[in-house]
Symmetry: C2
Subunit: 475 residues, 2 copies
C-alpha cells in the first residue's frame, strides 16, 4: 500500500544536503527545551550561531518596523505616535498595491515602487544606472540562489553535458545544496587562507581545468563579504574574477548580502556591478546576477524573508524565462518585499525619522566593529587556533588544532572530528557552532575548522567566549 518510499522518492530530494541545518541544529533546539523545563546545565541559554542578528540581540530599526505595522493596521495611520514619514512610506506602498492593501498578490517580479527604490539604491551605490525592470524580488536570498543555481542547469545530467558551477571552499552551503538538487557539478575552488581568504586566479584556473572533463562550466559564485570567512574582497581581486569569468565564459553570481557589514578599518565594499561597469566597453555584454537580502546589515530581518536579484546582461528572453519560473510561486511575501525596499531606501537626512534611524544604525555598526575586532583577537589568543581578520560579514572561520585524544574520541563516537568538537561545545557551553565540513572544509591531519558568529550581544559576548576558551583548553 505504501506508494512513496525512501527507495522511489525523487532522487533530487535524496541528493540535497544542507549541513548547517542538520542533527546539531535539532540537538540545539532540544537543549533549549531541556533548559526551559528546568534542567541544570553549565549555561543558561543556547546560542545558535546562525547569521540571525536580531535573534542574538541586535535591536530592530524602529522605522522599518513602524512602516510594516502601518501597512498591516492602516488605522494606525491616524495614530500620532507614528512619525509622518513612516506613514508616507506606508501610503506610497498601499497606493501601488491592487485594492490598496498589503494583502494583495503582487506581480511575479514584485511591487513596482519597491523595485524602483532598489534600482535607485543600486544607481547611487555604483554610480551607474540600474533599471527597475531588471530587479526581481525574492523570498529571502535563498530563493535567488535557487534561481541562480537552477537556471544554468543544462538538462543533460551526465558526462560532458552536465552543468558545472564554481563555488568557493569554504563557502555557504546553500549553493552546494541547490547544485546537488539539480545534479549539477560542483567545481570547488579554494579561497586563499594565507591571503585573508582572497580569490586566486591560478586556483580558479586549476579548479576549472580539472572539472572540464566532467561538466560544462556555466557560472562562478563569489561571496563578498565572505560567508563563512568574513573577508572583504579588494577592488583588484573582484576585477580579476570578472576578467576570468569573461575569458572562460561564465556567468558571475555575486552574493552580496553582507554589503552593509564592513567592520575593518580601510576595508570597503565594491559591488561586482560597479567593478564591471568601470571596465572597458568590451565587457558590456557580461552576464551577472547579484543578490541582496534584508536579513543582514543593520536591518537583520531574517524571518521576514526579503531579497532581490539584479539581472545584468541577460537577454529579454532569458529574463522572461526566469520571470515565468518564479510565477509558479505566485509572488514573494509582500512583507518581505517591503522590508527589502526599506533597507535600500531608509529615512533620508531631510526626513523626520532620520535622526533616530541614524542613531540606531550607528549603535549597531559600532557594536559590530567592536565585536569583530574582539573575535579575531580572542580566537587568536586561544591555543592552537589561527584566525584571519573578521573584516566584514558576521563570521569568523578559525583553524583549530585538535589533540590526538580528541580525534580518537570522535572516531569512537563515529563522527568527524570537527562535528565532534562542535557537538561538545554545544553540550558543554551552549553554543551551536557550525563545523567546517558544512562549508566543505573537512580539515586534514589534526587541523579542522568551525564557523562562529560575532553576533551575541555585548553582555553575552565575553561570557560566551570565556566558556568556549575554557572548554577548548580542557579538550
Amino acid at each position: 500500500m505504501e506508494v512513496l518510499t525512501e527507495e522511489n522518492i525523487n532522487p533530487a530530494f535524496k541528493r540535497i544536503k544542507y549541513e548547517v541545518r542538520g542533527w546539531l541544529e535539532d540537538r540545539s533546539h532540544e537543549i533549549r527545551q531541556e533548559l526551559a523545563r528546568g534542567d541544570v546545565k553549565p549555561f543558561s541559554e543556547v546560542v545558535i550561531h546562525f547569521g540571525n542578528p536580531q535573534g542574538m540581540g541586535q535591536p530592530p530599526i524602529t522605522f522599518f518596523r513602524q512602516v510594516l505595522a502601518l501597512l498591516l493596521c492602516p488605522e494606525l495611520l491616524n495614530d500620532p505616535g507614528f512619525p509622518q514619514d513612516a506613514k508616507n512610506r506606508a501610503k506610497r506602498i498601499l497606493n501601488d498595491m491592487v485594492g490598496h492593501t498589503i494583502s494583495s498578490y503582487t506581480s511575479t517580479q514584485g511591487i513596482n515602487v519597491v523595485r524602483q527604490d532598489i534600482a535607485h539604491f543600486i544607481s547611487q551605490r555604483d554610480g551607474y544606472p540600474a533599471v527597475y525592470e531588471d530587479i526581481l524580488l525574492t523570498n529571502g536570498g535563498s530563493e535567488a540562489i535557487e534561481v541562480m543555481m537552477g537556471v544554468v542547469q543544462t538538462g543533460t545530467q551526465d558526462g560532458r553535458g552536465r552543468a558545472g558551477v564554481m563555488i568557493p571552499v569554504p563557502g555557504y552551503g546553500m549553493y552546494k545544496s541547490r547544485l546537488l538538487q539539480h545534479n549539477s557539478y560542483q567545481i570547488l575552488y579554494r579561497l586563499d587562507e594565507e591571503k585573508n581568504w582572497a580569490l586566486n586566479v591560478t586556483e580558479l584556473k586549476r579548479a576549472l581545468e580539472e572539472a572540464r572533463p566532467h561538466c560544462v562550466p556555466r557560472g562562478l559564485v563569489l561571496i563578498n563579504p565572505g560567508n563563512p570567512t568574513g573577508q572583504v574582497l579588494t577592488y583588484e581581486n573582484i576585477q580579476e574574477v570578472i576578467k576570468f569569468c569573461a575569458r572562460e565564459k561564465l556567468v558571475l553570481f555575486a552574493d552580496e548580502v553582507y554589503q552593509d557589514n564592513i567592520h575593518a578599518d580601510g576595508a570597503q565594499f565594491y559591488s561586482c556591478k560597479k567593478v564591471l561597469r568601470d571596465l572597458e566597453a568590451e565587457y558590456s555584454e557580461f552576464q551577472l546576477i547579484s543578490l541582496h537580502s534584508s536579513a543582514k546589515g543593520c536591518a537583520g530581518e531574517c524571518g521576514l524573508r526579503g531579497g532581490y536579484m539584479e539581472l545584468v546582461g541577460l537577454s529579454d528572453q532569458v529574463k522572461s524565462r526566469i520571470k515565468t519560473y518564479l510565477s509558479a510561486r505566485s509572488c514573494p511575501s509582500t512583507i518581505g518585499q517591503v522590508i527589502m525596499g526599506l533597507v535600500c531606501n531608509p529615512p533620508r537626512p531631510d526626513e523626520e525619522s532620520y535622526e533616530r534611524f541614524s542613531k540606531e544604525r550607528t549603535i549597531i555598526q559600532d557594536s559590530y566593529k567592536k565585536k569583530a575586532k574582539l573575535t579575531t583577537e580572542i580566537l587568536n589568543s586561544m591555543e592552537g587556533v589561527k584566525c584571519n581578520e573578521v573584516a566584514g560579514a558576521m563570521y569568523a572561520f578559525p583553524r583549530i588544532t585538535l589533540s590526538q585524544r580528541a580525534i580518537e574520541e570522535a572516531k569512537v563516537q563515529g563522527i568527524p572530528p570537527d562535528e565532534f568538537y562542535c557537538w561538545q561545545v554545544l553540550e558543554k557551553t551552549g553554543s551551536y557552532l557550525i563545523p567546517g565540513r558544512a562549508f566543505d572544509m573537512n580539515g586534514s591531519g589534526n587541523h579542522f575548522y568551525f564557523r562562529i558568529t560575532i553576533l551575541p550581544s555585548e553582555d553575552k559576548f565575553i561570557p560566551m567566549f570565556e566558556r568556549l576558551k575554557t572548554f577548548h583548553q580542557d579538550l
Copy 2:
C-alpha cells in the same frame, strides 16, 4: 561573450507555463497605469479576477492584523488600543522564537506553537488526532504544490520510468506548471460538468489506463472546493477517490485551500483526512498530503504567503527528505507562518476579541453567499452561457457559446477564441477574466470557458456584471 541564452537555459525553465499570469495580466497592469495617467475608458477601475479577496474589497480580520502589528512593533504591547487577547497571542509566539523576536529564522518546519495550533485545528475539524510533527509550514499554498509535484518525480524522465500525476481538467494551473518543470507526465482527468464538476471514477480509470504506457502513475490531485469550478465534493465522492487511489497505489494530494469558502445551502466541506480515517483499518497506511493556505476563507491574506502541508502515512525517512529539501529555503516567512496559525486558531468564544471577529466573519460569509448565488443567476441569464452552481471557493467557470464572427475575429488576431474573448472583456469592461485554456479547458466547436471570481465588493459587483452582460450581448 553571451553565456546564458534562450538556447542553453535550463530546459525546465522553458517548459514551465503558468497561463493565469501571462500577457493578459501584463496588459491589465498596463491598463491600470493608463487609467492612472488619465486615459478615458468605459470603466474607472481594472478588476483582476484572481483569487485575491482583499484586493477586491474584502476587509481584513482586525484581530489577525493586530497580532501581526504587535509582533512587528512590540512597543504596541503597551498600547491600550490593542486588545489583551491579541497581546497574549503575540507574546506566546515571541516566546517561542529564538531571541523572542519575529525577525529570527525558525526551524525549517516552522514555529512550534503555530504547528501545534494547526494540529489542534485539524483534530477538532476531523475528530481524529493530528500531530504537529506532521505539519510543515510553507510560503503560501504554492510552495506546498512545489513539494508535492516534486517529491514523486522518479528521476527517469523518459518512457515508462517517468512519473505521472493525475490532475483535474479544468484545474488550477499551478499543478501543471510544476509537472512541466519536472518533465513529469500530466494525467489529465475530466471533471464531470453535467454532475456539477464531480470526480467520476470511470473517467479516472480511463485517464489512468491511457497514461500507463507513458509513465509510472504516482499521485492524484483533488481540489475541493474546486478551482476554477466552485464545486463542493460530496462525502461519497471523496470516499470513492480515496478507494481508487488505494487500489491504484497513488498518493492523494488534497488541495483544500477553499475549505472555509462554502456558500450553497446544504453543501458541507469534508476533508480527505476525515473521510480517510472513517474508512476501515486497511487504509491505515494510505498516503495523503493535504494543503491549506491563509489566502482564502475569511482571512484572504494572499500577499502574506501563509500555508501548511499535513503529511499523512509517510515514513519517517520520506518526511525527513521533504524537510531537508525545504531547508534549502532556510525557513518560511515568519509573518506567513503566524497568519496561517491564526486562521487555524482565531479568537475563541471566551476571548475578548471574539465578538468583533465573529461579526467580521459573518459579514464576509454572508456577502460570499449572496454573491455566489447572484453570480450563478446572472451568468445563466446571459445568452449562450451555462454555469454550474457556485457552491464553494471563489469562482464560477461558465461555458459560453461564441458567434462564428467572434471566432473568426480571434483567428485574424492570431489568438485562441477564449483568450480573444477575455482580452476584449478586459479592454472594454476592465475585467481581467481568465480564459478556460489556462485551466486546460480549450473548448471546442463554438463552446469555450472562462473563470470569473465572485469577489468584487457589493457596490462594484452589479456594475461589473452589467458591463460584462452588455459586452457579451454586443459580441
